[in-house]
C-alpha cells in the first residue's frame, strides 16, 4: 500500500489552532504538496521545538486536506510535552513538517462494497480523511463510521462525519453517549447487521485507534470472515522515514516469501502505518 510520491521537508505556517474537545486540538498548516499528495492513513512528522529537548519529531496522521487552499490539518490529543508545544504555537508561527509518510488505506475498486470505518479516540484523525476520500470515490451511502471514546465529550469529528453524509454510530465506554461499551463490540454487531442487509456486498473494514483496539478489530474481522481489514498502527518513532528500524511490529514474511510461516520486524513508518490485518502477528 506504499505509494511512491513526493515527500517534503518544509516550514509550514500555522493558520488555525482550535481546541475541538477537552485536550484535543486541531492545527491547520499551509503546505501545498502535502495537501495535494497525501492519502488517507498517511502521516506527517512534526518538529515541535527548535531546540534539542524534545529532540525527535512527533508523528501525526493527516486529518484533512484542502488541495485548493494548499492546507492540511492535524487532530491531536495533548498527552505530553511535544503535543503541548504544538498546541501552544501561535497562528502565524512556522513549524517544520516532513511528509506525507507511510502507507495509506486502500479503498478498493468495488463500487458495491460496504465500507466500515472504526475510530477510537484520536484514531478519528485519519478516519475523517478516509471517510471524505471514500465518499468522493464510492459515494457516502456505502460508508458507516463507528466512533468510540471513553466518554461523550471525547467523541471526535461526529459533526464532520455527519456533514460528509455518512452513517455514524457512536460508542462510549461509560455509556454517556451512544452505545455503552467498546466500539469493537459495536463493530461486531454492525458487521452482522450489514451482512443481513447487504448479503451480496463485500465488507471492507478500516480502523485506527489504540493497539488493544486494533487487535480486537483484527480478531472480530477474523471471526466474521472479513476479507479486507486494514489497520493503522502506532509506534514510537525516531526517524519516521524508514532508516532507524525503531518503529517495528511483527509481520508475516508474506505469501510470496520462501518461508511463508516466517516473520520479520516490519517498519510501521514505511511499511505501515496501515497494514492488512492478515499481515500482522500479535503478541
Amino acid at each position: 500500500m506504499r505509494d511512491e510520491i513526493s515527500r517534503v521537508v518544509a516550514d509550514c505556517e500555522i493558520i488555525e489552532q482550535v481546541e475541538v474537545a477537552p485536550h484535543v486540538f486541531r492545527s491547520v498548516l499551509v503546505e501545498p504538496t502535502i495537501a495535494r499528495t497525501s492519502k488517507p492513513g498517511q502521516f506527517v512528522n512534526v518538529r515541535v521545538c527548535e531546540c534539542y529537548d524534545p529532540l525527535l519529531r512527533r508523528p501525526f496522521s493527516v486529518h484533512a486536506v484542502d488541495p485548493e487552499k494548499g492546507t492540511f490539518s492535524l487532530l491531536y490529543d495533548v498527552i505530553g510535552r511535544g503535543t503541548k508545544l504544538l498546541m501552544e504555537m501561535h497562528v502565524g508561527e512556522k513549524v517544520s513538517v516532513v511528509g506525507p509518510l507511510g502507507s495509506s488505506f486502500d479503498v478498493g475498486e468495488d463500487p458495491s462494497a460496504r465500507h466500515i470505518l472504526v475510530a477510537g479516540g484520536c484514531g478519528a484523525a485519519p478516519i475523517h480523511f478516509l471517510s471524505d476520500w471514500i465518499c468522493k470515490k464510492h459515494g457516502c451511502d456505502k460508508v458507516t463510521v463507528l466512533v468510540g471514546a471513553k466518554t461523550g465529550t471525547a467523541l471526535l469529528c461526529q459533526a464532520e462525519f455527519v456533514a460528509h453524509g455518512v452513517e455514524v454510530k457512536l460508542a462510549t465506554e461509560d455509556g454517556s453517549f451512544g452505545f455503552k461499551g467498546f466500539v469493537t463490540e459495536l463493530l461486531a454487531s454492525h458487521i452482522e447487521e450489514s451482512k443481513v442487509k447487504n448479503p451480496d456486498s463485500a465488507i471492507r473494514i478500516y480502523a485506527c485507534g489504540p493497539m488493544p483496539m486494533m487487535r480486537e478489530v483484527a480478531r472480530v474481522c477474523g471471526e466474521q470472515g472479513i476479507k479486507s481489514c486494514q489497520l493503522s498502527l502506532e509506534r514510537t518513532m525516531a526517524c519516521g522515514i524508514g532508516v532507524c528500524m525503531g518503529c517495528v511490529t511483527k509481520a508475516q514474511d508474506g505469501c510470496c516469501s520462501h518461508h511463508p510461516d516466517e516473520w520479520h520486524y516490519s517498519r510501521v513508518c514505511t511499511d505501515g502505518p496501515v497494514y492488512d490485518a492478515k499481515e500482522l502477528i500479535w503478541e
Binding site: S6, V9, V243, C244, G246
Partner: protein
C-alpha cells in the same frame, strides 16, 4: 579559486567531509526522496552481518534529553541480500559507499568483509566492534585491546578495501583502543559509537527498552564524542571520521578542529532528513565566512585559551 572540501579516508576520496552515521541512513535509498545522494561525501550504510538478523523486540528507541537511546539489535537482511538488493541502487551515484560490518565471531566479520571485497560498488568497510545492543560478540571485541586486535587483523587479511574501525566510547582509555586498531592494520578510525544507557518509566516501573539497555546518541553526547576525537587525534596518525551529536555545519567544524578528517551525521538525520547535505553546506558557508580555502586546514587546528 574554488574552495576545496574534499578529503581522503584511506583510499576513499570524499567530495566533502560528510558521511552518514551507520544505522541512521538505512541503505541510502530511503533518504533519496529527500537528499541528492551525490551531495554527500560518502554513504555509510546500516550494519550488515553474515546471515540475516531479526533484531530486538519493540520498543527499540526512547527519547532522552537532547538524545535518544536505541536498541535495534542490528536488524538486517545479511550481506548477500545487501549485495544483491541494496548495492545496485547505490551504484547509480557518484558517492563512495562504506559498509558497516557486524559479526558474532571473528570468522563472521572476516567472511562478511571477504564477500564485500568482491562486490562491485563498495569503497570501504567500517568495522563495528562497538554495537552495544547485541548479546554476543560486537561490543565485547570493541572494549579490549585484545578483542580489537583480533578482529581488525582478521578483517585486514580478508579485504584490501579501505578499512575503518569504529570505536566504542564505553571504555576507560579510547586512545589504547585506537592504537590497537592502528597496530592491527586499520586504515582509519571512526568514533564514537553510542554510549550505553538505559531509561525507566516510573509509572509502569519498567525499562523503556525491551532490550533493557541501549545506545545513547544525539546532541547530548557531543561533548564526550568531541573529547574522544581530540584524544585519539593526538594519539594516532590515521584519518578519523568523527561523529556524535552532529546536527549543524558548525557542529561538524568542531569535530574537524578537534582532529577529525571527516564527520558523520547520525541522529541528526532523524531531526532533519536533509541533515547530511545541510551539514556539508554548513561547513562550506563557515569556510567562506572564515575565509578558509581548504577544509583540511581546519583539521586538528583547535587552539587552547
Amino acid at each position: 579559486m574554488g574552495m576545496n572540501l574534499s578529503v581522503e579516508i584511506g583510499k576513499i576520496r570524499m567530495k566533502n567531509p560528510v558521511t552518514t552515521g551507520s544505522g541512521t541512513f538505512g541503505s541510502g535509498q530511503e533518504l533519496s526522496d529527500f537528499v541528492d545522494l551525490n551531495m554527500v561525501g560518502a554513504i555509510t550504510v546500516k550494519g550488515v552481518s553474515l546471515e540475516p538478523w531479526k533484531g530486538n523486540p519493540y520498543p527499540r528507541t526512547v527519547e532522552t534529553p537532547a538524545g535518544m537511546l536505541n536498541a535495534i539489535g542490528l536488524q538486517n537482511d545479511g550481506v548477500d541480500n545487501f549485495i544483491s538488493q541494496k548495492l545496485p541502487f547505490l551504484r547509480q551515484f557518484d558517492t563512495p559507499v562504506i559498509v558497516n560490518v557486524v559479526g558474532q565471531s571473528v570468522e563472521e566479520y572476516a567472511e562478511v568483509a571477504r564477500r564485500l571485497d568482491k562486490a562491485e560498488g563498495v569503497s570501504g568497510i567500517e568495522l563495528n566492534v562497538s554495537c552495544p545492543n547485541v548479546k554476543q560478540g560486537c561490543m565485547v571485541f570493541g572494549t579490549s585491546v585484545e578483542g580489537i586486535t583480533e578482529v581488525v587483523q582478521a578483517v585486514r587479511q580478508a579485504t584490501s578495501l579501505t578499512l575503518i574501525t569504529k570505536l566504542s566510547p564505553n571504555v576507560t582509555d579510547i586512545t589504547a583502543m585506537a592504537r590497537a586498531a592502528v597496530d592491527a592494520g586499520t586504515d582509519a578510525l571512526s568514533l564514537i559509537n553510542t554510549l550505553l544507557g538505559t531509561a525507566i518509566d516510573p509509572w509502569t516501573q519498567t525499562f523503556r527498552l525491551a532490550n533493557i539497555t541501549g545506545g545513547l546518541s544525539g546532541p547530548a553526547i557531543k561533548p564526550v564524542a568531541l573529547r574522544m576525537v581530540w584524544q585519539v587525534a593526538q594519539a594516532v596518525d590515521v584519518p578519523i571520521i568523527g561523529m556524535g551529536g552532529i546536527v549543524t555545519g558548525t557542529d561538524a567544524v568542531e569535530f574537524l578542529l578537534a582532529g577529525a578528517d571527516a564527520v558523520a551525521v547520525g541522529t541528526g538525520t532523524f531531526i532533519n532528513p536533509k541533515a547530511a547535505v545541510d551539514v556539508a553546506e554548513g561547513i562550506a558557508s563557515y569556510m567562506e565566512k572564515m575565509k578558509i580555502d581548504d577544509v583540511r586546514e581546519l583539521v586538528g587546528s583547535v587552539k587552547t585559551l
